[in-house]
Amino acid sequence: MARVLVGVKRVIDYAVKIRVKPDKSGVVTDGVKHSMNPFDEIAIEEAVRLKEKKLASEIIAVSCGPTQSQEVIRTALAMGADKGIHVEVSGKDYETLQPIHVSKILAKIAQNEKVDMVIVGKQAIDDDSNQTAQMTAAVLDWPQATFASKVEKGDKEITVTREVDGGLETIKCKLPVVISADLRLNEPRYATLPNIMKAKKKPIAKVTPKDLGVDVSPRITVVSVEDPPVREPGVILPDVDALVAKLKEGGHV
């Protein structure tokens, strides 16, 4: 039976309207509702389903970030993970934390915990990097099955259906493996109140990147963060002639 490591990220809730800071250094996060990255919920759900089918023995949920990241680990535990690892990265370090750092941390934990599968969401809805799964596979030198929409686990190998442009690709690879979850892999369950209560008894270990021997010094600097351009309002024209005139004026005809 496989041991599964799942990466979960705390992000601004998907339903919140994002506001950019006036000094263009980033987005407003203070006093804003946060929750687990939706793609990571799908990753957790897949791990829990593997466990329910007796194909996985233990599920470990990992999150890198400030103290509040423990909230999403709790949610993961409430959904069915067995234990959590909180990699504490706070303040300035967290602002510049990149997939390269996270993938090294995940790889290190994967080796320490002797896991057979790493499942992560394909991307986070805040920075949309879509790099962590690929980089983790590279650091570990394991096969990667990204954008999974179906996972079938065998004894020593795994069959994954991937969502590629305009179709599906089915691949087979040996364990251990890194999988990234796409939107249609499954429908995540809701963390119910009794399960949240039970999750409070499950253990969360706290480590720092230093304990794992990972250097989290920044590789890039954010130059500026800006709002997307505002869509120009449309106009309603009385007849075809006016439309043609307007199109000519705009140089479209």
Binding site: Y14, L183, Y190, T192
Partner: protein, 80 residues
Amino acid sequence: MSYRREVVQLYKTLLHLGKDYPSGYDFFRKRLHRAFMKNKDENDPEKIKNMIAHGQYIVKELEALYMLKKYRTLKRRYDL
């Protein structure tokens, strides 16, 4: 036999779900409270059982609503 425990449990579950309600927690909480208070004097065990079953149905519906809302938002946002 008293249904007090089940009713309280149902109320708590619904309150918890209400935190994610699209029209806001306050909107949800007021209505939830009103719905429970309306039937506070009900004594017929059969009717209470039916109402609890209805409450559990609402719980399932809310979970489905949130899941669908999230799925649709992501699908639209990422053009998947």
